[in-house]
């Protein structure tokens, strides 16, 4: 009789602890996911910029107009490689 009662009590204790863990994990997810998502967003943008093929023309050259001194001069700032 007493053994049964003890078993039941231990079972309800385990159930209670399980519920607590579920609540804690859910709240942790609710906190972590938005933060992680927000901090990873710029990284994802950067990845799409560098990894997606065909996003930019092959062999394209980016130039900028330099205004040092009296003469204006075009300088190559970026050269995308042939992929």
């Amino acid at each position: 009789m007493n053994k049964d009662k003890l078993n039941e009590s231990s079972r309800s204790q385990k159930f209670f602890i399980g519920l607590i863990y579920i609540a804690l994990i859910v709240l942790s997810i609710v906190i972590i996911v938005p933060v992680a998502w927000a901090f990873l967003a710029p990284l994802n943008k950067m990845l799409s910029f560098t990894v997606v093929l065909g996003l930019y023309q092959r062999d394209s050259t980016y130039k900028t107009l330099l205004t040092h001194g009296k003469r204006l001069k075009w300088a190559t700032t970026c050269l995308t490689p042939r992929l």
Partner: protein
Amino acid sequence: METTKGRGRFIFFCLTPAVILFIIFLIIPTIDVFRMSMYKWGGYTDDKTFVGFQNFTKLFHSDKFYQTFQNSVLLIVIVTIVTFAFSLLFASVLTREKLKGQNLFRIIFYIPNILSIVVISAIFSAIYDPNSGLLNSFTNLFRSATETPTLWLGDQKIVIFSLAGAMIWQAIGYYMVMYMASMANIPDSLYESADLEGASRTTQFFSITIPLIWVNIRTTLTFFIISTINMSFLFVMAMTSGGPDGATEVFLSYMYKEAYTNSSYGYGMAIGVVVFLFSFALAAILNAVTKRDNLEY
């Protein structure tokens, strides 16, 4: 006799700088706000006209003010109740139960508090985005593609609750740490004897934990009111700018717009006076209602 005189002089010199700063930066500006609320002034010129209580009369006849009042009170009620319940519950769990990863949970719950309000607003604006937001991506799993996405920050009926969600998310960790600090001071012997008497955990929570941290609870209730009024301004300015159609306009955002955007500085100060009196009265009422005899242990 001379020692007492010297001690008095020492205390006087120690307190004087703080008192002077307090008077210059707190007392005088507060009195000035009350004074300015009786003037009609644009804020940029010397052209001030004394109008008495006209700004207040105008304020109490303004529908917009009642809308802001309603929004602010709704935010105070929702944020206070939900944050209080969650932070108390999780503080109790993390203090009383012996759980694995307890410290990890504490750190995680405190993370929102170390982020600035602008960052949190940016995070939640992205989450509430109707097209690519996390929340709609999740809710889309349970509904058809033809349904229009929920406008979390665009629907007048929902937007205030979206703001409340962000505010609760930000505040839980802070209040949880406060409650945990006072719960840690409760002697274990009280819980042990309650265990021996056969008291359940719920009974222990309501009969031991709550009464013994009551002083802390009272203090935090005042904090809830003040911080919700202040924080709501930051969240509103960063997330909705008071929109859509004034659905998220709160006390301070309305005051700011009237004083600085609308160049009605005197009217803005009248709003400031009403907000000051309202928060003061609410805090006083809460303090009076929650007054109990201090329990010693």
